[in-house]
Amino acid sequence: MAFSRLLIANRGEIAVRIQRAARELGMTTIQVYSAADEDSLAVKMADKAINIGPPHAAKSYLNIAAILEAAETTGAEAIHPGYGFLSENADFAEAVEAAGLVFVGPTASTIRTMGDKAAARAAAEKAGVPVVPGSAGRVADFAQARAAAAEIGYPVMIKASAGGGGRGIRVVESAEGLEAAFDQAGAEAKAAFGDSGLYLEKFIARARHVEVQVLGDGRDAIHCYERECSLQRRRQKVWEEAPALALKPNVREALCACAVRLAKSVAYRGAGTLEFLYDDATERFYFIEMNTRIQVEHPVTEMATGVDLVREMLRVAAGAPLAYTQSAIRLRGHAIEARINAEDPAQNFRPSPGTVSDYRAPGGAGTRFDTLLYQGYQVPPFYDSLIGKLIVWDETREAALARMRRALTELIVEGIATTAPLHQELVEDEAVRAGAFHTRWLEDWLSSRQRRAAS
């Protein structure tokens, strides 16, 4: 199944990232784009680019027929779906294979089992992986949701079965708020993923978000250790690190081993991530979901292990066995990623699309900036606000923090607001420096900062 013409069914910084890996493997890159992305960096960099429709994602990046037609027109042999959009859509994976092309990712049936969060929970339970208490799969309607919430006990979290990236998620404190939140989450899930299916989970307030990176070739599977993504706002990760901060070596071994067990049990192919909640107090971890795709924060793992995850995805999709055995994967030093979004942290994170009038990327030792930016680029309003990821690596976390502080001073983005000032504050914060946080820490910190500013 070797291929040399790769179509990238995505946009933004991840499209650029995939093109880089593909080019290093000698592949020809074919970039699809919507009418709003004609001037994007991904289009400029690609060997070939093809328009697949209007700005609205449902009519372009989520339009399976248009993407397959573009693949046929351009003679693509494989499709990389990136993250978001169609990356966890089993029907898309199936349609790609049915068209005689390679889908860069797991099989459609693995996506169905592991990509559907409710089904993944069941698979995890079967494999003996601890899970957070929740509904038995999807809830069919509001009446079922109400019954499930009563059984689990409030507060509960409503989540999109097809979800990812924090979309379609609501925390509900009591029965009164359930119906409105259920409708909103369903609508958001439908808009983001084309599937309004929801499930419920008990909400654990003070947990860390820890996730294990796995790689598989359909025969064997390995882990590339874990990341910690506890700094979140509205369930969206803001700042990620590798390795996680609070894990004792024996807990780390148990966590990673159980992730590999689950990956092996489904003969996993490609890059995947198993997400867990970790409770410092009890040192227990609970599986929450699996993402059957490359993740936004994959670079921290790449920096801390030296493995090129996207290149490895492409290699195994082309039929090659994993290039690594488990014992070849070594953690070295510490990596941190700061997500730079086109949002104004001084205005309650108001989206800030518009023209980038001045731009300078950070650089230097142990510093990586994955971005869609160039000077003069007009950031469109139609898609995610992520415009760049600033990743640093150093021998120790303390040194990595110093490097992040230095790199942030080099980043210049004028003309639009970005979240870089937030990261400048975080890098100086005592709790962040001590790694003393949990998944609600950032929201608490933001609201107390707002109160300080108001008084």
């Binding site: 709003a36 209007p54 700005p55 609205h56 449902a58 009519k59 979309r167 409708d183 369903g186 609508a187 958001e188 439908k190 808009a191 983001a192 086109a342 949002e343 989206p351 699309p353 309003p381 139609f382 898609y383 995610d384 606000s385």
Partner: protein
């Protein structure tokens, strides 16, 4: 005749959810502050409130149409 303008660039929606009826239809009466649609900007949904009262004469922007900030969405008479 007054026009209600989009406060932001993004995608205009006339319905709160794909399977729900539109906020307003032509001929409906509108009060100041009524929600007439949503703008999706960078995956955030922002309500568009009427700043004029009267009756919906016509929708200038279609459901799911990309709009610029300041673009007229609805004509109110």
């Amino acid at each position: 005749m007054a026009q209600i303008l989009s406060p932001l660039p993004g995608t205009f929606y006339r319905k709160p959810a794909p399977d729900k009826p539109p906020f307003k239809s032509e001929g409906d009466s509108v009060a100041v502050g009524d929600v007439i649609g949503l703008i999706e900007v960078m995956k955030n949904f922002v309500e568009v409130h009427a700043d004029a009262a009267g009756k919906v004469a016509k929708f200038i922007a279609d459901n799911e149409e990309p709009v610029m900030a300041g673009q007229p969405l609805v004509e109110v008479s």
